[in-house]
């Protein structure tokens, strides 16, 4: 037995131009839409400008610096990171941080885990777990001496990082990782 499909009559449901051409245009709606477009493009332009400035990372506003009060370390980092995007955190040591041809640096675990430390240059001589972080020992002679951490955050969110030379003042900062 054949199946009958439902039907309904064809009606003149599409608005006409000059009462002869069914177009379904709506200039009023279109004008509202163009206004909406202008608002969207204004927002997009603001986003682009903020991005160039570095508010979403990788720009002048994202770059930050923190120095220990006793001058033991000077850290250059990015206060706004991006998920899976590589960046560099560099630590410069003051003369008072070098002892017996070596310099030690303690970093919080968040630098390794949340900010995804990939490499350290130069390679530390030793590394040891120490009070919720890692204590690195580097061979060093005379200043300027610096160490670089290649970061690549594995997840987005906020991370509190802290660094310091044992027995000296620590520095800490909040880093936001953009998705």
């Amino acid at each position: 037995m054949p199946v009958s499909s439902p039907t309904h009559p064809v009606e003149d449901s599409v608005s006409k131009v000059n009462d002869e051409l069914a177009v379904g245009s709506d200039l009023k709606f279109q004008q509202r839409w163009w206004k909406f477009e202008r608002i969207i493009w204004t927002i997009f332009t603001i986003f682009i400008a903020l991005n160039i400035a570095g508010l979403f990372g990788r720009g002048p506003l994202a770059k930050a610096r923190m120095r220990a009060a006793d001058g033991s370390i000077d850290v250059h980092y990015e206060r706004i990171e991006r998920h899976q995007s590589p960046s560099v955190l560099s630590v410069q040591f003051g003369p008072n941080a070098i002892h017996d041809g070596k310099v030690q640096l303690w970093v919080s675990e968040s630098l390794i885990r949340t900010l995804g430390n990939q490499r350290i240059a130069p390679q530390p001589e030793t590394s040891a777990l120490d009070r919720g972080g890692i204590l690195y020992t580097f061979p060093a002679t005379t200043p300027p001496v610096s160490v670089e951490f290649a970061l690549q955050p594995a997840s987005s969110g906020t991370a509190n990082i802290a660094l310091g030379v044992p027995g000296m003042r620590r520095v800490s900062a909040k880093v936001f990782v953009m998705p």
């Binding site: 000059n18 051409l21 379904g24 245009s25 279109q30 969207i40 493009w41």
Partner: protein
């Protein structure tokens, strides 16, 4: 999980961005539109797939985008407002021997664009056009004057 979220985000981002572009890519695929479609597509692919190149991830991404398309198609078919927001509305560009300036300017369509469509209908001059309508898909429909 991230692939699914990125695919949903990417789908809507592309939908909104392409929709707010005045010249709608689609029916008139000139190099101007090809640049947009390929470049935007390439950028979205990178973040959607992340660093996971597994088949599972690819399958999830494809299925998610397919599902989004189904949902948007359903909304479009069911609601007039959704149809207007997603596809826009046709715009009359030429009517009664007059260019509709507001529509032309708003849609960033020039008389050359209208004439290009007219030629495909065998029309040689603009004065033989009775109506020109910019359709939802970006094509320009031409209706000739009666002889």
């Amino acid at each position: 999980m991230y692939t699914v979220l990125h695919a949903i985000g990417g789908y809507f981002l592309l939908l909104v961005t392409l929709r707010v572009l005045r010249r709608r890519p689609g029916a008139q695929m000139t190099p101007f539109e090809f640049v947009l479609v390929f470049l935007m597509g390439g950028i979205i692919i990178l973040t959607t797939m992340d660093h996971d190149h597994s088949e599972t991830n690819a399958v999830m991404g494809v299925i998610t985008i397919g599902l989004m398309h189904r949902i948007v198609a359903y909304l479009r078919e069911r609601f007039e407002l959704a149809r207007s927001l997603i596809d826009g509305k046709p715009l009359v560009l030429v009517q009664d021997d007059k260019w509709q300036d507001l529509a032309m300017r708003g849609a960033a369509v020039t008389d050359d664009d209208v004439m290009a469509s007219a030629r495909t209908k065998g029309i040689r001059t603009l004065d033989r056009i009775k109506y020109a309508v910019l359709e939802r898909n970006g094509a320009i429909s031409i209706i000739k004057k009666k002889q």
